[in-house]
Symmetry: C2
Subunit: 252 residues, 2 copies
């Protein structure tokens, strides 16, 4: 599987694409495809088979077109990923959430989590300098609204939203990796652990790692696996929100 990069081309071209306001040409044959159809096909492949399967040739095949045809609609693969990302962010809820800031942040975090779980390929796209499409803008606006007016500075608001988003990104990445490694290896966590233990006992000096042994085996017994991603998500989210709460209290 591949890690891909967004954009990288002319910003003007990217924005033109994201906001779909390219001037319709008058001459020449009518285009057989649309950006929408290309994005939909690419999403279908990426959702079902992962980012590694989403090659330009594969997307073109899906549409019954030649590979190079796509380049008439999209400057390159990076820009296609931009549009895919913005499209998927369109699935996020926009309704105002009832409750205090903590309930709102909590809810936004879970919505992002669900999105990543439904489109795990998103986690493999490097997104510093996010594609500034309509849905990315709306997402930022929505998340800022959760913590507006609770006494944080603008810089703190931005940092908090980024922190939450980064946390969810990392947590779901771990969860998805754990899920995928089971498929790829055909081995459950328990099987994997059981396959290692006898060799480890023989090779590694267990007395050298007393805490690792104790904590590792407690956790393994508790979850029947060396890692439980649901528990990790809940634990981390609670700690993070507690940390933000401490700051909010200070600012009061």
């Amino acid at each position: 599987m591949t890690q891909e990069y967004t954009g990288s081309g002319d910003p003007a071209k990217s924005l033109e694409l994201l906001w779909r306001n390219r001037p319709r040409p008058t001459r020449g044959p009518k285009p057989a495809l649309t950006v929408e159809r290309i994005v939909a096909a690419a999403l279908r492949i990426a959702d079902a088979e992962g980012l590694g399967a989403m090659s330009m040739r594969r997307v073109a095949d899906e549409l019954g077109a030649g590979a190079m045809t796509l380049y008439r609609y999209v400057p390159g693969k990076g820009e296609l990923l931009d549009v895919m990302l913005d499209a998927v962010y369109g699935e996020l809820p926009r309704r105002p959430i009832a409750g205090d800031w903590r309930a709102k942040l909590d809810e936004a975090a879970r919505a992002n989590r669900d999105l990543y779980l439904n489109h795990p390929w998103m986690l493999q796209v490097a997104v510093s300098r996010p594609p500034l499409g309509p849905n990315v803008m709306a997402k930022y606006e929505y998340e800022l609204a959760a913590i507006e007016g609770i006494g944080l500075t603008d810089v703190e608001m931005d940092a908090t939203v980024a922190l939450l988003n980064g946390y969810v990104h990392g947590a779901v990445r771990s969860a998805v990796e754990a899920r995928q490694v089971i498929q790829r290896s055909g081995m459950s966590d328990k099987e994997w652990w059981l396959a290692h233990v006898p060799h480890l006992d023989r090779i590694a000096d267990v007395e050298k790692y007393p805490l690792a042994s104790r904590v590792g085996s407690t956790v393994g017994a508790e979850f029947d696996a060396p890692y439980d991603s649901d528990h990790a998500f809940e634990y981390g989210l609670a700690r993070l929100l507690d940390g933000v709460a401490t700051l909010v209290k200070d600012r009061r």
Copy 2:
């Protein structure tokens, strides 16, 4: 650049490799290479040119050998990455840190951050089911020691260490991506932003995103860029440790 996977083969073979206890064969020609030399060459390439440049052929070239020769020493690329990771974790400090749990966790987080910054390719290796080599074990032991005896359960200790590690991983990933995107695009954050603004103003309805506009421009003015990774790291780490502190206080 590529996202790579660790292991994936026979656990017995992987552990044999990580702990370097393969039985020396008696017959046949003396091997011209060693696992150590292969790992060193691979690390040199990955550190200097990124994981994308570290192909099996490239590593072999670096050693004056044929590509397929490496497979005499290492089962595959995944296992080579395992050994590289464990080797790099050997660079982490092991001295006990003075101070309370918070000082220790803080210090451990910064040590991990430095390691990632020096070997950014690590961030592209998927590590659910970490390679259980000697240095990975020592790292886990060291980090657990930071929070041993402060009233947390074993499960909480494991979750806390994982949360911190995940946080640092994500934070440094953002920082490295931001650093790399400048090189790859030849455009500073400021230039990037200035190239977008005029088009955005023309395309997007700014009234639709009031918070995003206000906070975005405040942050941009404060840091002279849309994202300051050092500030983000400090802010996030402080929130996280505050969150853990809340839990520790509860357990008292």
